[in-house]
Subunit: 268 residues, 2 copies
Amino acid sequence: MPEAWTRGGKPAADLRPPPGESPIIVLVRPQLAENIGAVARAMANGGLFHLRLVAPRDGWPQDRAWRTASGADPILDAARVFPDTPSAVADCHRVLATCPRPRHIVIPVRTARAAAEDLREINGRGLRTAVLFGPERAGLENDDVACADTLVRYPLNPEHMSLNLAQAVMILAYEWWTATEPTPPRRLQTNETTVATKGQLEGFLGRLVAELDAAGFLDPPPKRPGMVRNLRHWFERGEVTEQELRTLHGVVTELSRGRMRRGRPDEG
Amino acid sequence: MPEAWTRGGKPAADLRPPPGESPIIVLVRPQLAENIGAVARAMANGGLFHLRLVAPRDGWPQDRAWRTASGADPILDAARVFPDTPSAVADCHRVLATCPRPRHIVIPVRTARAAAEDLREINGRGLRTAVLFGPERAGLENDDVACADTLVRYPLNPEHMSLNLAQAVMILAYEWWTATEPTPPRRLQTNETTVATKGQLEGFLGRLVAELDAAGFLDPPPKRPGMVRNLRHWFERGEVTEQELRTLHGVVTELSRGRMRRGRPDEG
């Protein structure tokens, strides 16, 4: 087997990522081509591009991988194949290994989130990083882990740790993307309209209370202050938008009209 | 179709989760049974148990789901089937919908991480929650989203947002588990041994420098302080364990013995 080759037929050296660009995902002795394709899809979801395969069981390339990649073909086209783990990481400055089982070694351990933060930091210094994922059934062997300087352990349900290969890559890719994602964790999607001011809300509440007073809904007088407060709290609880306030004004107008009609049956 | 039934043949009401236990995953019109099984596996990974299916395309149960569940059979055994989304969430107090596309509605939006934190908080108040996931190709329809009070949007690569159904559930389940996971993000796995004190490290460094002095490695004298500092910085950089220090002492002993032998060739 040549040192490294790709299906695209490009010289493998051209596909070596610039140091610091993004971590290389290394699948060590993967068994199912479908899983390799699903891994490429997960990588694309999380903004990763560089894939290396160590001795894939059924050889490479395999059409079945492309069929499960859901459009992440460029990742598979550029995937490089290596005969063993040391050669797959020889040009990397830092190597992380995903490994759910305790091993009798002295090594730094990171959660997936901390690993992603560290990878951002290390790549930011212009170094080339790789993350090893073991074969589907057995996981990484001790000799593979010996190529790594850091272990990654996902915090997950200890009663059911068995993680699909693409799921394992998905979580790392998701954390890699999230580590610099500026999306605010919580927001109100308001589309074309904006959140109403307290003054606009007050204008609506005043009108509603006046209509309810006219309809006799807020009788008897001793209960009126509490009933108004309860209504007010309900309307204050969410951020009402200007558009919603306009709709609510329309609802009050329409319902009031009905009451006025009922109050004057001769108008029919 | 009955209101709700399960493959296990247990009365469906017995399988209704106690309010506040953990979120219910609702797959709306899922297409592939393999994906339903993969979803169950991801749920188990993240400590979720309650699965509801709205009008699965190929009916239910499907053996293919159990084949991809990788041991998460109890989740599938207890899955409940509903004819439509409103009936699937009728007993829930809060409903979140995963939805990658912008919609022309006014609704709170959460990242997956914030959604998981919110779910922990809401469930902690004893309320029953559900999270909707749409069918593989099309995603949730507007009428499904109208059953939800909050949208969940994953921050992921906008160039490649198409997420496998089980991957989407995996990320939420992972965040659900991580939201209360006490694993420290960074640690050094030391197994049986403990990190050496600075005094123990100093004991080793003193001995190493003495041996190097004896060997003449630290000549000429003007360069000696800088060379010692460089060596010291390298050994100080990581947290050396007591066991590793013992090994290093042995290495120095062994190498020194070689030097002494070479110094006295007549001992051959």
